[in-house]
Amino acid sequence: MKVVVTSQGKDMDAPVDLRFGRAPWFIVVDTETGEYEAVSNEQNLNAPQGAGIQAADNVARTGARALVTGNCGPNAFRTLSEAEIKVYMGSSGTVAEAVEAFKRGDLGAADEANVEGHW
């Protein structure tokens, strides 16, 4: 299963970025093989608005079925839900640690956004 983790850097040792829409990198991890690739989300860092929606679109394009991040606002959450991507929030540590926590089932799928827009 493909999972996207929001990240401050390009590899598995980078810290998880707690922001979703304005995270600089998305690490796309295959939980079966452990293979990963980094996808840039840079275009959204300075977007005046709608960063969460565009970021959700970016995640959908990777083919991932789950997103692991710190926080997620309402517009991003709605877009991810429509794209049938489950959202796992409250993650921290490195990307590798977040993936392990996800695999163990430590992170629960969220039913709704946990922060306001423009958080």
Binding site: I53, Q54, A56, A60, N75, A83
Partner: protein
Amino acid sequence: MRIAIASGKGGTGKTTVAVNLALVASKEGRSVQLLDCDVEEPNSHLFLHPELETSRRVFLPVPTVDKSLCTACGECGKICAYSAIVVVKDKVLTFPELCHGCGGCKRVCPEEAIRETGREMGVVECGRADGIAFAHGKLRVSEVMPVPLIRAVKGSADDVDLHLFDAPPGTSCPVIETIRGSSYVLLVTEPTPFGLWDLGLALDMAKKLGVPHGIVVNRHMDGNESARRLASERGVEILAEIPDDRRVAEAYSRGEAAVDAVPGTRDVFTRLLQRLLELGRAGEQTEKGAAKP
């Protein structure tokens, strides 16, 4: 002549300048209209006490998608600069509160699946006070985008000799929209570190927009040369200095205009108006001259 009154910092006296200029101009028998473009917090009416005659609701066109026609091609999402419409997983989603109403999505949709419906921005109210034509906008509570309503207020300009556009504070989109098309911008400041810092930003903005501009110093105190220093450094004229006078503040707190309540103030605004009209005439002549081959 179209004069915008802006400031950078809030609370420096834009409305005071706009209202008192309007009163002085009207007293001189000029046809004048005050348009309060601070649609988030309009307050000119508190001092002019206009009789409001018309009220018009203003709408912004936002997309509604007929899902039976949509093929989820994604063209609408590609053209939208504000992520107000997006296609994910063969589904089109709209976020009307993010839409700026450009109509791009409707235009590029190959299936003609998009029609425009109105999102209410607020109201424009027009009226008169002491021979002064008046218009202002009131942004709908919880609406985040003031610019379309400011455009509607400006669209209510009557056929008069002098238009005064009272701008919101700051140097961002709402202010730029207010100033656009003006023949002159008055930048109102107060001689405090905050006031002068923001005046610096406002001067940069006016310069970038290429609109002729000058400064009005409010709450001027003898011995405080800071505003004059900045004006001379930047090569910008100070058109008026309104003396710091407690009676002006007291009149303000009662909703009275300074020219009516405080003796001597009328002269300051009469001279300011004269100077503005001179600059306006000079500007028109330069324009005419430049238009000749």
